[in-house]
Symmetry: C2
């Protein structure tokens, strides 16, 4: 759990399979109260609705998604972003292959391999 890294080169980070053939992710820079995770979606892949006590930002890096927060759904394309309050249901469905960058505070300790 202890890490004092500053620089996180893309090439040195593990690509984790979340759902075979559909969803992979890389945990990117993290430290203190912040963590960044990039999620790679194939068309039709779903980040199922869920909630957590962490606040979250999401930035659409590429592709097209329908993103739901609470009862509101919007289409996201590259450059669009979202704020997800703590303990609020949210999810994403991939329309065209793409990538989302999720930022959490505090860190998602459940994502970190012991």
């Amino acid at each position: 759990m202890i890490q004092n890294d500053i620089f996180f080169a893309d090439q040195q980070l593990e690509l984790e399979e979340v759902e075979a053939g559909k969803l992979t992710r890389k945990i990117r820079a993290r430290g203190g109260k912040l963590m960044m995770v990039e999620v790679f979606f194939k068309p039709g892949a779903i980040g199922y609705e869920h909630e957590h006590p962490h606040e979250q930002l999401c930035y659409c890096l590429a592709g097209e998604f329908v993103f739901t927060v609470g009862s509101e759904a919007k289409t996201l394309v590259a450059g669009d972003s979202v704020y997800v309050p703590a303990s609020t249901l949210h999810g994403a469905t991939c329309i065209n292959e793409g990538r989302l960058l999720d930022i959490f505070t505090p860190q998602r300790e459940d994502f970190i391999k012991s």
Copy 2:
């Protein structure tokens, strides 16, 4: 200062000039303890070394940069990311035109127009 927005469409956000002909930025999703800011750099543009009590993540969206944290400097290209601890000197010099995505906790209230 009060805002309860969830979705931040790229097209609806103001592009602010930071340094004429060199640096522009968009404040993207923000809320609670999180704020996301995209900075657009022309070659040779410099984000001068500075520090603040906020913790920060930085993700290189495009281009090439030399990024300095404390006494350490690294080249960043797309996909590379950085964690900047609170109250730590950091800065960026653009080598090839590009974009950095900065995330702060708490929000940079000094960036918000009253």
